[in-house]
Symmetry: C2
Subunit: 328 residues, 2 copies
């Protein structure tokens, strides 16, 4: 009997769900609009209907019989201990006891945790950090998301909301951040941060760059990376500066936690070696001798489309294991 | 039968040893010069002789019979996994397999770990962080030492040398640090950092202060704290600036790890409310809303003279518990 869990990834715009096996394979998946303005019980009703449709489809396939043993859910601002989603950015909710909604529909055991933390669980169980006890996953997109594993366990801290690396103070009186404070790491080290740096550089220096022929809103880190490879000076310099800022953040984490690996995912990671080469160099330069060579900086392993589902699946499998260990 | 462990704290100048019971009481203690120029096996021979002398003294006392069940050792640059002390600052040693020296003299089980980490163990087992699963201990003296406990376990990371908070990069192109790099947190947030700030302020502004009548070498954080309480402007401002720098370091740790408590010990903590009041204020101001009020900042609980011995004792008791749990 093949054990399967349902993994649900609730996002600000879209939510994804799929069934995951013990090897991390996603055997059926789908996506729907979150419709942030709707109440959360409506979203859960739609997710549940879709999940049952997917499950019936799976059962009708030939092959090994399957058993649906758990449900994992990843969401922004989710609190694992309380089973709630609390004031999620981009969703108009207050504090939602989401696991209570789940248990009204089903007796299948369910777990809920923060989306960035479950992404780290996915990399640790199925991806580029398999078997690694101490690692950091950062996702560089609009902002900087992060998930931390220390001594083999997810770090959530006393508040339940740890691993907000995007908001560590990097530059005194620096750039305005969406969180209301100034100089947070993510205002420099993210896909958006890279664009801000590119435009700031051009504002200071002027000059020519093919990138200026595109609307900044649509510009991607991948395009800036390709321009740098083609020799565009503005692009090269913006990537070098972004790498230097991110390196300071990583040096801080390495001195505090000495992870064996730091995985980098999200849109900015698509900038490629124009980012990764100066990043690795600046990190090594910034470390005390005792840490040199102790931390591998590499690209995240799981494609973004499956990361949330696999993370939620990893959360459910971990929950089931703890439960069975506690029974022994 | 009362279970006792020997706790040994190896320092650059002096080493301390004592017998610790399960409640953290130090029942016999002594201190000796480390004599850093001697080979480590000579130091161990002297420590072992002293330990036996102390033990004989304890056995001759009336009362409950005692059983010597373990040995714990804290030392600078100690690597727990390898049982070695590696290139310790202030000691002229290379890599010393210290636990091998111990096992040549005795079959009593022994554990070795970094001095700052065992200090955190002491606070977690016997002191101001009893029962707290996530906390940070920082010791502000000549430098900034730190020990971290996450999800109830000591953080040593992949290298075995984690929790070097004193060397996180705080100020870009900032003050020269003893580690060879620039702008490390401890060049600002330590007893020495406070003195550097005081003299820098005076160099910029001139003016009068009673503190300038003392040789800076001998000036203590406690004296600066008392001067601030008496209204000395230079002292007040130096403490405020030092608190602001330290606050940025603590805000970083809280965003990453969300500890329930941060304990502050060492000479700088004796500056009192002149430091602690602006520190607490600046930390709260620097946090994202979700972390506000989630972390208590308080003074460390164990007097410095016993901290190393009690930490080494806590390490031994923890080792014995793991061993007996593994046998079950």
């Amino acid at each position: 009997m093949k054990k399967m869990v349902l993994g649900i990834d609730i996002g600000g715009t879209n939510s994804r769900l799929g069934f995951v096996d013990e090897n991390g394979c996603v055997l059926a998946r789908t996506r729907m609009a979150t419709q942030a303005q709707e109440p959360p019980d409506r979203l859960w009703a739609r997710l549940w209907d879709e999940a049952q449709r997917l499950w019936c489809g799976l059962l009708s396939l030939p092959g090994e019989r399957m058993d649906w043993v758990g449900i994992g859910i990843g969401a922004p601002n989710a609190h694992r201990g309380r089973g709630s989603i609390e004031h999620p950015p981009n969703l108009g909710w207050e504090i939602v006891p989401f696991l209570d909604l789940v248990s009204e529909k089903t007796e299948i055991p369910a777990w809920l945790a923060n989306d960035a933390n479950v992404a780290a669980l996915a990399e640790g169980r199925f991806g580029a950090a398999k078997g690694v006890d101490n690692f950091l996953l950062i996702t560089l997109g609009t902002g900087l998301g992060s998930g931390l594993v220390v001594n083999g366990s997810m770090v959530e801290g006393a508040s339940g909301f740890a691993a907000e690396m995007g908001h560590i103070p990097l530059v005194d009186k620096g750039r305005q951040c969406g969180c209301g404070r100034q100089g947070c790491l993510e205002t420099y080290a993210s896909a958006t941060g890279l664009k801000r740096t590119l435009l700031e550089l051009w504002a200071e220096r002027g000059g020519n760059s093919a990138l200026l022929s595109m609307p900044p809103m649509n510009l991607t880190a991948e395009q800036i990376g390709r321009a740098a490879e083609a020799g565009d000076e503005l692009a090269c310099e913006a990537l070098t500066i972004t790498a230097a800022h991110l390196a300071r953040g990583l040096v801080t984490v390495i001195h505090l936690l000495s992870p064996a690996a730091i995985l980098i995912g999200g849109g900015l990671s698509l900038a490629g070696e124009g980012l990764m080469a100066p990043l690795r160099r600046d990190v090594e330069r910034g470390l005390m001798a005792v840490f040199c060579g102790s931390c591998q900086i590499r690209l995240a392993g799981i494609p973004e489309a499956d990361l949330g589902i696999m993370g939620a699946g990893a959360l459910a499998f971990q929950g089931l294991e703890f439960r069975s260990a506690a029974k022994d």
